[in-house]
């Protein structure tokens, strides 16, 4: 069982590091997304890092691609995977100047 847990840990760590290495990272320092527009392949993920000094609330109201990270504290990071092609408008619900487009391609 210990071996199983160890293996699980190794695999999860591997997946996690792999995901981090592959994902494009979107920063939020200074109440601004680090990219206005990014393109990713269907099934790919973005890593939203709150490296700002205050909470943000990343979300999308784009039909079919709605999501809401809720209050994301400074010093935290969340991966978001986009499974269907199309343009997804991503905003911070708190800060209306923060907006970006994710172009998800086939």
């Amino acid at each position: 069982m210990r071996t199983t847990i160890l293996f699980s840990f190794v695999i999860l760590s591997g997946l996690s590091v792999g995901a981090l290495a592959a994902n494009q990272v979107i920063h939020q320092q200074g109440r601004v997304f680090s990219s206005e527009s990014v393109t990713i392949k269907k099934g790919g993920a973005l890593t939203f890092v709150n490296d700002d000094s205050i909470p943000h609330n990343i979300m999308s109201a784009t039909k079919g691609s709605e999501f809401n990270l809720g209050s994301q504290a400074p010093g935290t990071s969340t991966d978001v995977t986009f499974k269907e092609a199309g343009n997804v408008q991503v905003i911070c619900a708190i800060h209306p100047r923060m907006k970006m487009t994710v172009n998800v391609t086939d």
Binding site: T4, F7, P55, F67, G70, G75, V80, K83
Partner: protein, 361 residues
């Protein structure tokens, strides 16, 4: 070979465990085409302490007013917009103009707790100032309008405010002979219509900019422009009290929406973003320019003085799920509170008088 089986079994179990563990994070917060993973803590490089000079650098006044490319400034447009802004005939009763609630005499507000609309009925919220609207990202306390042009038409039509159907308004303005040439000059080839009406009013509103205050002179290097109390207040504002997390930049707002824990049933921004917890009871952060002329304060006009406002923030307000994570008891001393108020008063200029225009007949 026999020794490999246990290993392969372990590997298989490990993969199953890993997949199932991974799925826990995804299952509860999946929304169809988008899958949200678990939130992880990360290490941020410690930020160097910000000195007063670095703080001050963030508050320098802009040198020009931004006008949108869809509605660039012309003096003819602004002059027409000013007449429309002060013209009571824009309301169905012919008793209210934009300036009734957004008056230059009260820092471009109305000095009341909540606005007064059609038939002298009280409205639900405090009339916001229009000072520095040119820099606004989104409009109304709840952010329901995207541009100043849209905003200009909102209160005119609202049944509780000026109660004037736009078709009726255009018909009335057309019957006032002196308006026609003013529209023709301001909008060559476009003439008098709802769109040009909105563009003219918005252009005038963008010219309403807070004038230089003692704070600006201090930012530009005059150490004697504000008192030592106010300078200490500036440090508290940017530090311990965290006011600048929302009231940031030269206009003292980032136009963000926050529930600051006022005990009001009004859900504000939540009406337009119903699924987002932090938007319930959230209202747009107002700028703080000309603040000493704009009492009473808050979206509901519930706090009469700046001292009461500081006390509210020091207390932290109503603790509820929607309350901003930035709201918490601050533990300010009496001196710090007093310094904060002294500082905020330095954001008020000696506004020069605004002449009421002669209106078309």
């Amino acid at each position: 070979m026999a020794r490999l089986f246990p290993r392969r079994s372990s590997l298989g179990a490990a993969i199953a465990a890993a997949v199932s563990l991974g799925a826990i994070g995804f299952a509860g917060i999946s929304f169809g085409a988008v899958v949200v993973g678990e939130t992880r803590r990360i290490d941020l490089a410690p930020k160097a302490a910000t000195g007063v000079d670095a703080m001050k650098a963030q508050y320098k006044r802009p040198t020009t007013i931004p006008f949108p490319k869809e509605n660039p400034y012309t003096p003819e447009k602004a002059a027409l917009g000013k007449k429309l802004y002060f013209d009571t005939r824009l309301s169905v009763s012919m008793a209210q103009s934009c300036a009734s609630c957004h008056s230059p005499g009260f820092g471009w507000g109305d000095g009341l707790a909540v606005g007064v609309g059609h038939g002298m009925a009280k409205l639900g919220r405090h009339s916001p100032t229009i000072v520095n609207a040119a820099w606004g990202e989104i409009f109304m306390w709840d952010g329901r309008l995207a541009t100043l042009e849209e905003q200009a038409l909102g209160p005119i039509q609202a049944a509780g405010e000026m109660n004037m159907p736009l078709e009726q308004l255009m018909s009335r303005l057309t019957s006032i002979p002196e308006y026609k040439p003013l529209f023709a000059t301001a909008f060559p080839g476009e003439g008098m219509n709802v769109k040009t009406l909105a563009k003219a009013i918005a252009t005038y509103e963008r010219t309403v900019v807070s004038e230089r205050a003692p704070f600006d002179a201090w930012i530009e290097g005059d150490e004697k422009a504000i008192s030592e109390d106010a300078k200490r207040g500036f440090v508290v504002f940017n530090g311990k009290a965290m006011c600048s997390a929302c009231h940031e930049g030269w206009n003292f707002t980032n136009d963000g929406f926050q529930d600051i824990g006022l005990p009001s049933a009004d859900i504000g921004r939540g009406e337009f973003v119903p699924g987002v917890v932090k938007m319930q009871h959230a209202f747009k952060t107002p700028g703080l320019r000309e603040i000493a002329r704009r009492s009473p304060y808050m979206h509901d006009g519930s706090l009469a003085t700046l001292e009461a406002v500081v006390d509210h923030y020091d207390h932290g307000g109503v603790d509820r799920p929607s309350r901003s994570d930035l709201m918490k008891p601050l533990g300010l001393t009496a001196q710090e509170k007093s310094d904060l108020v002294t500082f905020m008063k330095t954001l008020t200029s000696n506004l020069s008088p605004t002449a009421v225009p002669v209106l078309p007949r």
